[in-house]
Amino acid sequence: MKDSVTWKIGGEAGFGIMSSGTILARAFSRAGYCVFATNEYPSLIRGGHNIVTVRIATREIHALEGVVDILMALNQETVDLHKQELHDGSIVVFDPKDYDWQASDFSNKPVLVPVPLRGLVEQGAGEPVMRNTIALGVTVGLLGVDFILVESVIHDQFTKKGDEVVRRNLAFARSGYDFVKTNLPALQGCHIAPTTKKEDVLVLSGSEAVGLGAVRAGMRFAAIYPMTPINSLITFLADHAKELRIVYKQPEDEIAGINMAIGASIAGVRSMVATSGGGFALMVEGLSLAGMVEAPLVIDLGMRVGPATGMPTWTEQGELQFVIHAGHGEFPRVVLAPADAAEAYTLTIEAFQLADKYQVPVFLLTDKYINESQWCVPKTHFQGDVLLDRGKIAQTEALASDVSFSRYSLGNDDGISPRSFPGQKHGQYFANSYEHNEVGHVSEEPMNRKAMVQKRLKKLSAMSRDILPPSVYGDPEAGVTCVTWGSTRGPVLEALERVGFAVGGTRVNVVHFSWIYPFPAAQAAALLSKSTRIIDVEQNATGQLSSLIREHTGILIQEKLLKYDGRPFFPEEILDKVQSVK
């Protein structure tokens, strides 16, 4: 029995590949397994090669592995493209009507399992798209667990479409399961070890976790122009707008989006935008506006492969330096980078709190891998209200009737001045994109200009008390350190756990940055100066975090493991690098 199985399904886009990954992940999650699922697909709606990989394990996992234990091929191409990922003993399920694979077609020795997927569809008088449901049943059989495990998830997944759809899907899944039980009783190489359920666990994407965090943080308004990879955030917000009493507005473009969100923020509600690099490029002017009028704002930037349209459905960490420097003029901002869905939730809440507290734009720097992968997180992580701190807000009773309210008052050491909301009695002011005085009137006086620049920038030093220092995994005194930020943490942790955080007798740790900017320079320097060998692991071509570390600490990281082919890291690649002799 295996304690971890990696399952990969592939087929044409439009054949329900994505949803079968979610069903499988949820089924095993409900039974107490830790699951993780990622998708890979081209920027097409129909046709093209779609795959979903699901890893199921009896222990906590942080990433996929580079090898595939069960390859579920709904077309010939799936085997063509992925047979190198198989190992001896991997199972390949295919329909001989697509292509009758023989052992000689493989350089390794997988177990070939022909299943008449089309034949089973025809027996049940179904549509070709039902093959993926049969494949689910086959999978459950190959993993050696009871069919009941997948039953309730199929029920829940299709119940909105009516009882008949549920019944048919259950019947097709059952036919796949029975096929394995009847014809392949001895095939037990991929049976997964039993486990017990400890608690309720959610399986959700990073984007959905951002949505949950935003609502938990009291976000009321989101203006988001559709763009991969943040579209499932739109779906979540739009689906629940009524019951959660939020407004999701689809703007005409990202420029309108950020300006709408700033308008809503000034009017008094927590607001956000979400986009990817190209959409954010359009928002940059609005970012500067938020900085000038001191409007709280949360920006979820889901990075994907650039420049320009790039590879829209693939992952990258190319925007770290962009968000730190975006916007004309100098003004403060915060940049946070979640590593997974659990952290996407908590950091989204933190982003809204910080935005209100400092009256600045706050970035959530996510990526396609985080946003579209399915993560398992205990349900309790998301439960319970949080105490919302809206920051400094002018109290109406305290406002004088003599028109003296100074929205941009200079008398605060932290640079943060109380704000009023339009409609509030005696709170009148101008939110002005021109340089302005304390009331908001335009001012080009040199002394005022200097004071206002300092007022805004004072927030940067005030923020130092909220900075989340880098996290350390493994021995803080280790001689070798892997530096990570955002989604690279998962594969690196997965790799180092495999070798017990030691290589060749030397201890290895991970220094991970969730809080990117203002850069935690002192904490980073203290942690990194202990290592004799530092390896920067980033999903970009230039090592953008290492540049930031160099800029703020003087530490020059010589060794970099950089990946920029659009594919996430696998633990094996990390180990290859760490184990290589310097």
Binding site: R26, S29, L202, V203, L204, E208, L212, R216, G218, R220, F221, A223, H240, A241, E243, R245, I246, V247, K249, E252, D253, I255, A256, G257, N259, M260, A261, G263, A264, S265, I266, A267, G268, V269, S271, E285, G286, L289, V293, K379, F382, Q383, G384, V386, L388, F421, P422, G423, Q424, K425, H426, G427, Q428, F430, A431, N432, S433, G440, H441, V442
Partner: protein, 286 residues
Amino acid sequence: MTITADSFKTGYLPTWCPGCGDYGIWMSLKNALGELSIGPDDGLIVYGIGCHGNMYDWMRTYGFIGLHGRALPVAQGAKLANHRLPVIVVSGDGDCLGEGGNHFIHAAKRNPDINVIIHDNQVYGLTTGQASPTAKAGFKTKSTPEGVVDEPMNPLTLAIVSGATFVARGFAGDPLGLTKLMVEAVRHKGFSVLDVLQPCVTFDKVHTYGWYRSRLYSLSASDYAPTDKLRALTKAVEWGDHIPVGIFYREEKPTSEDREPALAEGPLVSQRESQGNLDSLLEEFQ
């Protein structure tokens, strides 16, 4: 307290050129707000960037002076956050139809309960006299020394075909008539567009007060009824010796805010700390 034009004093004096059409628009707006009893703390004016946009400095209300062309999105965000707040957009022909053209079309399409006042003088005054999107063919400006070669944009026809539910034109040289139009435009529930013809006394020696006065006639003096879209379009393209002012088109339709179920029980700002019943929907991810 009665709201009058004096209620909006800031202590700052206008910096517009003597004789600028902006004065007439400013005066009319103050009078209209007085008539509507919308005081300095009661509403939000979102300004564009241009000569028009400097108005806030001598107009004491909650004001948002945003980026060139982006006034309408800011206004829509504020309106959705607090739909009981009167929101007025003070914009210009360059701001609203040039840099912000896409926003104008889409705002009209959504029909938010916002009034936009377009200062339409055919030039970019603040940047010292280049042609604006409404500049008529042949008009010589700093950016078109041989005369404008393109066709002008027509703010009225564009508003009508884009879905605006109140479309009117006024004249900066007629503050009384303009005040009446503004009162009606602000009262209208939906996206109301008020295009205001105004002379630029510094950079336009052709379209003077006299030029306009000899050509303008009022639709309200005729038997014109602003209820028919096609007829409104026909009227809106009239230009030359006779130029109509007044209300071209008006219809009642659900607003952008009406269509948001979340707003049915009150403005978002009144529930700004709510976290909803989030726990109840976690099950869908289980």
